[in-house]
Symmetry: none
Subunit: 413 residues, 2 copies
């Protein structure tokens, strides 16, 4: 089944609202085995809505609209759908009764434009709305189906769950299963080059790569008649991917690196302390965004100045003078200082140059030293990012720290 999502509302075209409905519906439809061909967004303009709906119906078996079902003058979705599928609008008695009851409960008078919400295309299946006043509906047009859902995401999702999902379960024969794999330490084009032997000539599962600042994602999706076949095909392909680029793979469950690390720390009851200079708390913040990390996280220091490195963590003044604050030795002293003071199993430190100022030839902006101290062991790493500005540098420093900690926990360092 092929579908198009049509989002109706001028506020979307003004950029006042980000269209989260289209993404949410797409993800639900994909899982149900429906191919989404297009998202179309159009304002409250009858001619353009009409043209877009006709085009969507031309190419798709299923068209889902969101928005334009409210009581106000610019809510025109129903009128235009009725026109496009050539049926009259008639009053739905159950909706009128529900609206009357709703306004009675509220003690507010029902205005004439609220009555408009009870008009439905003839022969439509009404999607009664338990969480709002605007019902949706489903109309069949020959072999095709058009559905109208309200614009507010909460109502749209409620009507989808209540009416659309059961309909889809009945209609679709195939099941889709997919996993999202996440990688660190390899660029998108290098990843794709390495995966070419699997990508080329393979139609199912499909493999799609995506890049994000400093990270890569691969989606492995299979569409089969039986769900267990799809699950098996995806698992098999993931194993092939693991053989080729397993060293960079950190999650097959679409988890972010900080979630993976936090879960390992929590699951293994490993305690952690942190000593951050250039990342300024970002590393601790990421880890502590994960529920339950309070059990593992003992103490964190943000030691921006040389004085604070010395006073709070005991990094010797002479060492800083001799080696410079951005140096392997200072990173080591920060990590050991933090570990001793916090009495944690592991301590991780970072010192680097986030920019925009403060770089030099030997200490470029975008470079940092990371040290990890654990019982009887200290490891250090130099990481250098392409300097794409302070925000980017701080963010990729944090990712590099997470990668180092992740590999430490896996005994890969």
């Amino acid at each position: 089944m092929k579908a198009t999502i049509v989002s109706i509302g001028t506020e979307l075209l003004f950029g006042q609202i980000v269209n989260t409905n289209a993404a949410w519906l797409s993800s639900e439809l994909q899982v149900a085995g429906v191919d989404v061909l297009y998202h179309f967004t159009v304002g409250d303009n009858p001619e353009r809505v009409r043209a877009i709906l006709k085009r969507a119906l031309d190419e798709s078996d299923l068209v889902i609209t969101t928005g334009g079902l409210g009581p106000t003058q610019d809510d025109l979705t129903k009128e235009i759908i009725a026109e496009v599928i050539d049926v009259p609008l008639i009053q739905d008695e159950k909706t009128i009764q529900e609206l009357e009851a709703f306004f009675l409960r509220r003690g507010a008078p029902m205005t004439e434009n609220n009555r408009k919400q009870a008009l439905m295309p003839e022969n439509a299946q009404v999607f009664y709305n338990p969480v709002g006043t605007a019902p949706g509906f489903l109309s069949e047009v020959g072999e095709k189906t058009i559905m109208a859902l309200p614009g507010p995401p909460r109502e749209m999702k409620a009507l989808f769950d209540l009416w659309v999902r059961p309909w889809l379960n009945e209609k679709t024969q195939a099941t889709i299963f997919y996993k999202i794999l996440r990688f660190y330490g390899i660029g998108e084009s290098a990843l794709e080059t390495k995966l070419l032997p699997i990508i080329e000539g393979q139609t199912d599962p499909t493999i799609a790569t995506y890049a994000k600042d400093g990270e890569c994602t691969v989606r492995v999706a299979s569409k089969r008649a039986r769900e267990e076949d799809a699950i098996y095909a995806v698992a098999e392909t993931i194993e092939k991917i693991r053989e080729l680029v397993g060293e960079y793979l950190y999650s097959t469950e679409n988890m972010e690196l900080h979630e993976v690390v936090a879960q390992k720390l929590i699951a293994r009851s490993v305690t952690l302390s942190t000593a951050e200079s250039c990342t300024g708390g970002m590393f601790a913040d990421r880890l502590l965004s994960v529920p339950g990390m309070s059990a593992s996280f003992l103490s964190g220091w943000i030691v921006y100045s040389n004085e604070s490195k010395t006073e709070l963590l005991g990094v010797s003044k002479e060492l800083i003078e001799k080696k410079g604050s951005v140096s392997e030795d200072v990173a080591i002293a920060m990590a050991t200082g933090a570990r001793t003071r916090a009495q944690s199993d592991i301590a991780i430190s970072v010192t680097g140059v986030a920019g925009p100022d403060g770089g030099s030839e030997s200490k470029p902006i975008g470079g940092c030293w990371i040290a990890v101290a654990s019982k009887g062991k200290i490891s250090t790493f130099y990481f250098e990012a392409r300097n794409l500005g302070r925000a980017y540098n701080r963010s990729v420093f944090t990712l590099a720290m997470l990668d180092v900690l992740n590999k430490t926990l896996d005994n890969k360092l």
Copy 2:
């Protein structure tokens, strides 16, 4: 001028990514006086991309695409645009040189698919990309214009600012001037109600309000023939707004609260230390994202556990036992402990319950105590958010701390 935004990428149709680009571009175009007719989203399918681009060009004077400019096999935007406007792709020498220099700096080999990024439609104006490897471009087709921008929002915005905005300024005869005002401590509908006397009956400048988690934004935009008239009209309206809701206004320059606070600290040479429990480094991270904050930020502590509050900041064990770790007294002890140790002008502390667990009737999830210690003075604040989950709670706690610090710096507390 009428425009259509075409977003290209199967990940959008799978719902993996929410299309924020279309909203951002729409908002920028609207301010520039361009009418956005449609957003079209299409996957990496050559035939459909071709059909959609043709349709977009039929109805619009300007078509902006995002996505599909990367080095991988499914990046097809350039090839299809060249086909649609009937010109060949030719290699852009400057881009090849930039790519070679980039890979040389990285010490990584340039793969053949990276070379693809240097191909451009003949006669295109290349949008060189200072923040990534995929350049964009502009091609003219008769009276119409098509522009291709990369998909990653950071790169898309950078190229828009660098290349598209100047082009728009030249094309649109009127000059648009706008300011974005930011508010804290007032909801959107309350703000809109208070501004009604100005909003009603005013056609220029236009006033548009937007809500974001815990904050409100107002855009005041004027479109006049002469730039100075637009600037004057906006300034005049801002003064009216200030009279009505000035107490909640913290920036007329679209600066975020942490930027406003950081700039004040830096400009006044005020030194700061922080003691965070429930925000776990987020507060320090926000402030330290601002360049130059290293001069003001002395030390930060992340004291999640009771032990760390006692050992690192000298919060007495008895006090924690008696009052509980989430209490006014512990917040005070954390702030004074941090200020004494860091010898900073100001210290700010927070202790609260971010959730999802750990709440009680007297200490609900979503509640926190904030203390600010300065020379001879301690102020405390209790802040309670509607509990909308750990991420939301931590984020609004951080905003509340920033608000408290901002008002402290303005001597309003």
